[in-house]
Each structure stands twice: as C-alpha cells, then as structure tokens.
Amino acid sequence: MNTDSYTVKTGVFEGPLDTLLSLIEKRKLFINDISLAQVADDYIAYIKSIEDFPIADSAHFILIASTLVLIKSKSLLPNLSLSEEEEKSIDDLEARLVEYQKYKKLSENLYKIFGKSSLYMRMPSKNTKILFVPDDRISIARIYDNIRRIIIEIPKVENIPKTLVQKVVSLEDMIEDLTERISRNFKMSFKDFSGMGKKEKVSVIVSFLAMLELVKQGIIQVKQENNWDDIEIETNTVSIPRY
C-alpha cells in the first residue's frame, strides 16, 4: 500500500454509519434492506466487542442497531407488520447511508489533493517598520471584558453530555433479563417482556434485538400466529446456558 492512500489509523474509533458502511462494502453489497439485514448481526457483534464507547456516540450506535433489528426481523418474519414510524426509520437509515457513502468518497478524493500542491500567500516581510500605534479603543476595561468572555468559552472536555447514555439500555442487560424471565415463565409474550406501550421505544427495540439474539443462539423459539399478533417466546431447554 503506498503512503498516500487513504487509510484509517488503527485504534481510531469509527462512527456507527461508518461501521455499517464498511460491513456492507466488505461484502460488496449495495445499500438496501436486503444487505442491511445481512450485516445486522455483524454490526451487533461489533457493538458488543467495543469496550469503551465514546460516550457521545453510543446512543447513535444503539439507535442504528435498533433500526437494523427492525430490518432483520422483517426479513425473518415476513408477517411482521411495522408501524409507519418504523418503516420510516428504515428508509431514513438507507438514505443516510447513501448520503454518508457519497461524502466518504468525496473526502477520500479531497484527501488525495489536500496539501499536495498548495498555494501559498507571501511570507510577511521581516522589515516591516513597527511603529507603536495603539488603538484608542483599547482599555483595561475592554481587555477585562474580553478575557472573561473568552474564559467562559474555553472548551471543557467533560462537557460531553452523559445523560444521553443513561437513556440507552445496554444490550447485554437486556439479554440477561430476557434469559432470566424466560426460564421463570417458560412461555411468555414479547409484549409482556418488552413492556410495550409502557417503556420507551428504544427499550422495546433493544428487547427485540435481544430476542433475536437468543433465537440465533438457539435458546428460545419465537412464534407469531398472525400479523399484529403478539410474539410468543418459548425456551428450547430448561437449563439456560450462560454466555
């Protein structure tokens, strides 16, 4: 690889759209609901593998994960009806990915020319005569006013909102909760489990995500008799393995 190519430094954190796009591009797929359903698992595995989420971005990651789960569940359960809002969040994600892909490509091209054949302004002359010519508007009061304002505006690193994170339910916790409740009740409905109607939408989606994860691992089975019906969850084994 030549030194001028556009590479991401190892260890540099990538955003959720970037991650998703890389997963799609790695499989040489186009951006659509089919490819998104295919990479949903990889994306979730990626999220689970990250230990230190940048606080400010974790909410974005989880929200995108929830949309992926919707897409995947629709592909797994064709009967599943999605609300208008859910359909829209799927369309939005596709549109955003297309938009992001476009800028990512543009930025790769821009990087190729950045600093390559720069134009330069003339160097400031070293012989400029320096005459002491103060501006009468400079005063101690004005300097003091300015410095007070400047100090307030110095960026404080700890200002990144932490509240965002508290709202997001961790995927791991959800899976554990689901496992425990299934082994207790043996058979329960998704509506009961997720607290649909009572909890925030994000929480419902994360529950769904957790459920699909368990289906994939063969721990539970899900059944939906008709469109709009509640989804029934059953355990395959009495003893739930830890993972």
């Binding site: 540099v12 955003r96 821009l110 020319i113 950045f114 330069y120 302004m121 003339r122």
Partner: protein, 184 residues
C-alpha cells in the same frame, strides 16, 4: 486602456503584493478611492494578467489576494518544510468535505450525515483556519460553517467550483434534502 485605468491596475497589484493577506473588496475600494463597480471591472482585468503565471489571483468571498501558483508548489515546499501540512485526520477531512460541498452548514447537519459527534473535528478545522463559523443568513442564532480561502489554498484550487466532481455533486445535492434532522 486609459492611463488612469492602467495605474489603478498597478495599484491593486501593488497593494495585494504588499499586504500578503486577503483584503476585502470594500477596503480596497476605499484605499484606491474608487467605487465598487469600477473596482470589480479592474479586478476582472487584473485576473487576465494573472493567467498562467507563477503567481495566482484569488477572488473568494468578497476578498482578494495573491498566492503562488499550484505548479510551483514543490519549490515553495522546499522553502517551508512543513511536515504537518498533510496532517489531517479522517474526521477532519470528512467534516471538511461536507462543509466544502454543501456550503453553509450547521453542526447538526454535519453530525446527521457523519452519524458522530463532530465537535472536536470542527474545532480542529477552525483552529487551522480551514473553515469559519458565522451566523446563518436565515437565523441570527444558528451558526453555520463554511470553507475558507486557507482551505482552498491547501487544496491547491482557486475557487470552490474547482473541487473534484463539484458540478455533479451539487446537482445531486439540490435534489436530496435531509428531512427529519431531529429524529436522532
């Protein structure tokens, strides 16, 4: 050309040469004591002189100044030896691209496209002078970012239209508009 007009051209050239930083059309017209209309005629005339030369004239955002031409950059690089010149991270170049191609754009719009918090990327670009921040024309309180002449110089171009694929991209941008920026 009339002798007077010829002298105006010379004066503009001398002022741009002497200042070694961008000067606004307005201030230039004051120093030369000519009206804006007359100034613009002369700027256009001067641009013709600076075609295919070692020095280029840049007229961007109502400011004008002279720079070395892109074909000569290897020579100037020898004089400067700035190792950090190409040092811009992935976040930086992505954010810069969005600002360059979209023009006046808010932080929210940038973050919607990138899907990540872009506070530090924006700060880095501001500090390097590659972008600037001002009130939006449509709303005093909304702050919008745009590309600076400094950024054009880094990219080796004289105006925004010289960005790679600028025309194609801009046509697409007119069609797509981002709705629901708030659902994040």
């Amino acid at each position: 050309m009339e002798p007077d007009s010829k002298l105006i051209l010379k004066k503009i050239e001398a002022v741009l040469f002497y200042l070694s930083e961008p000067i606004s059309h307005k201030r230039l017209s004051e120093i030369l004591d000519i009206n804006m209309e007359n100034l613009k005629i002369h700027i256009e005339e001067l641009k013709k002189i600076f075609v295919d030369r070692g020095v280029s004239l840049i007229d961007f955002k109502e400011e004008i100044f002279l720079t070395t031409s892109r074909e000569t950059s290897d020579c100037i690089d020898l004089l400067i030896q700035d190792e950090q010149k190409r040092d811009i991270g992935k976040a930086g170049i992505e954010t810069l691209s969005i600002i360059a191609y979209k023009g006046n754009v808010t932080r929210k719009e940038i973050e919607y496209i990138r899907g990540v918090n872009s506070q530090f990327a924006l700060r880095g670009l501001l500090i390097r002078g590659l972008i600037d921040k001002k009130s939006a024309p449509y709303d005093e309180r909304a702050m919008v970012y745009s590309i600076t002449t400094e950024a054009l110089m880094h990219l080796g171009i004289k105006n925004i239209e010289e960005l790679p694929e600028y025309d194609t991209v801009n046509k697409q941008l007119d069609v797509s508009n981002i709705e629901d920026k708030d659902h994040e």
